[in-house]
Symmetry: D2
Subunit: 242 residues, 4 copies
């Protein structure tokens, strides 16, 4: 097992991981015409809301670690957290725009939404832990894929379009595509600037893989919940049946 020690090598590993995910058992069904409908987008948005709510928080926590570290990394974390703050509201906005909510998203309470699915709770748990323990640089591995995930999401957006989701209800996906292009460059720069040791690179790579796989499990869970909703075996998302 060879570990990445450059951005390019990290990118190759990411491509490899993404390739594995593309072979996931559910993807074929998702792409089968007529199998899914717009409700899967709503479930996706709800889970996106939940983990995104914590992104700025766990990013900021990296900057509060008690150890003396590089002040520039501390500032990087805070700047990045500031830019991510409130992004979960875009997911709520899209949910409303897609026709699933009439309440104002600014006032919408967490309690109005179903609580996070297990898989989402697990992703959130991991991101808090990696942000508060171990190598403070590790979380860069999450940013590494999260900020460039949108280049892999083109087929997904296309599919949501086919399901009848309009552009105006895809702000989370489309705005992130452009915002994150710049972020991806900053993440590369940060990794190059702050990762000094082989262990730093290993920890960043491990966090990349772990958080990506947990995110893939969230996507699986979204699909599984959609199937339950479609088959009527769960009423968790029955408020989406209108």
């Amino acid at each position: 097992m060879k570990h990445a020690t450059t951005i390019d090598e990290l990118k190759l590993i990411l491509d490899d991981e993404m390739g594995n995910l593309a072979n996931g058992a559910y993807l074929e069904k998702v792409l089968t015409p007529g199998f899914v409908d717009k409700r899967i987008y709503a479930i996706y948005l709800i889970e996106t809301y939940h983990y995104t709510y914590h992104n700025a928080r766990n990013q900021a926590l990296v900057a509060t670690r008690p150890e003396r570290g590089d002040v520039r990394y501390m500032k990087y974390c805070l700047k990045h957290a500031m830019e991510e703050a409130g992004h979960e509201l875009m997911a709520l906005h899209d949910l409303k725009k897609a026709g699933y909510s009439t309440v104002d998203y600014k006032l919408m309470e967490d309690s109005d939404l179903p609580r996070p699915l297990m898989a989402t709770e697990v992703l959130i748990s991991y991101l808090y832990r990696v942000s508060t323990t171990g190598n403070p640089l590790a979380r860069l591995g999450y940013s590494f894929w999260a900020e460039r995930v949108y280049e892999y999401l083109a087929p997904l957006m296309l599919m949501f379009g086919h399901l009848g989701v309009e552009k105006s209800a895809m702000t989370f996906l489309t705005d992130h595509s452009s915002i994150d292009q710049e972020h991806a460059i900053e993440v590369n720069r940060a990794i190059n600037m702050f990762a000094k040791t082989e262990q730093d690179w290993i920890d960043i790579e491990n966090c990349m893989k772990t958080s990506l796989r947990l995110k893939a499990r969230v996507m699986d869970a979204v699909f599984e919940e959609f199937v339950k909703l479609k088959e009527g075996t769960s009423d968790r998302y029955s408020f989406l049946n209108k």
Copy 2:
């Protein structure tokens, strides 16, 4: 989806989950004569050490939650944490007894061991989060299966025996079987005493399922690492080849 609201119903759901795990893809291979050897026990012990290290800590954290709760539940958590404290040392003891370490386990540093596998880190992350956020009763769902898991582990212990692991190198497994019998009764009593609302039962059940599935992923990862070690595609555990 029907939620448990009694211990018996919770037990039925647990049996169901355990049944699903018993059909896991790896189990057949594990039971194929000659496929695995004693090194898989060592890998299992190392991961067991890692997550067990945190059990007393995350259990105690439940008692430190700022909310005013039932003082008896606080005491239950502290007593239970006290009883779990240091159990990870049994896993180290067993590792040594099984012939994999010559250093004294009391002095053995974490740094002597490979770091936790991703799957183990994820389990640890979840247990910290469930212990520090949300419903303080939820973690009882982890105890519910963890304290009675040994009744499901008989085949595993038998297999380890066939691999040449002696009784004296299985203290973690055998002692827990007896210690935990009493604990299981206490957990039942605690759930009956403190779970008041339907949401309490749901949260306990969710934690049971989530932590059990994450533990199953740890077992899968142990197997996967064993295969890599056997096939020589990873040197992570090469110190076990003697």
Copy 3:
């Protein structure tokens, strides 16, 4: 400045600190016949409730520190936390018994009481920090004086008696006198068992002094609030005027 390296030396430093406190500016006034009345006992109980609420919590936090430490110290902390859990309810009980509350103390919400005074908040803050950062042994310095403070409190209890507070409304003070005698022995034993280095002793001594001085500031603040109540310059505790 000589630091203690034995229990006896620590006790001498404590005696010295206590002696300084006994010369505090307010003590003379407190002991002047007719100056204070039973309401000062009520204010004292309210602040006692507030910081005692956190004692078991911050004690338990010491056992959750991520560093590998002596398992016996971990168990000591958990056992001690278990014994302290819920002691704040004795202060509420006494408040009620002293005639200041008709609500059942088991149901009484924090929100029914005035929030902690600044000085109390500062003591609480320090105890959380010393329990979660720096030398995990340091908090023993708090226990060292807190568990034997009752030997210094005889004059105070006498005074409260003169103010008309009955024995049955002094359970916090009287029960602690007896409970804590045993605890004091355990704290001595713990310090002797776990303090290995000069720095350990210094950290224990510093915590002893700091927490004791902050507690003295709480007592000063109680007196100051009583004076404001008596002179009618604050209505914070006006519900005590019946």
Copy 4:
């Protein structure tokens, strides 16, 4: 006791608090010609380093609170934290410039400095607690005085100048005077924007008073340590005697 509900009223209370501090017992001695010397500046810088180290950290923690709050306040906290990050290095720079250190401040380890004085540790403890519990707005009360303290510090800076401290060794004080002027305006704006309820104003005011008084205790402790150093009754800062 009247609570502030406008910035102007808060400022009046601050002036009042500052006036009380100006009557502190030690100030007369400090201003007596020949009583203090440059070493008191060094002690002041060391304690300033210690609590400033935590300012960006505890400020960032406010933004990580789990409760849903106003996203704009979250961003304010992160921006402010970013601007405060690394300011402790100015105190180390000044210490060196004032002739008290030959090591490069970028490499200087915490362990090279005496640990924080009790009073400093108490201030740090309080700031962490107020940042992580209770009203998330409360910490604005700390910023309210801290960002404008430099208008009160003119006499102090004059005195340090008389002791022979050069301008180039007062970057922490002088740069903050200008940086913080802008910050003070932002803090006013933030309080006006985010404080909605009477309780918000009370919590901000309480934090202002508490943190200011704890900071005054730090200044007292600096003086007390100077006296001990001068009289030779403590060797804590003897490395300043060159």
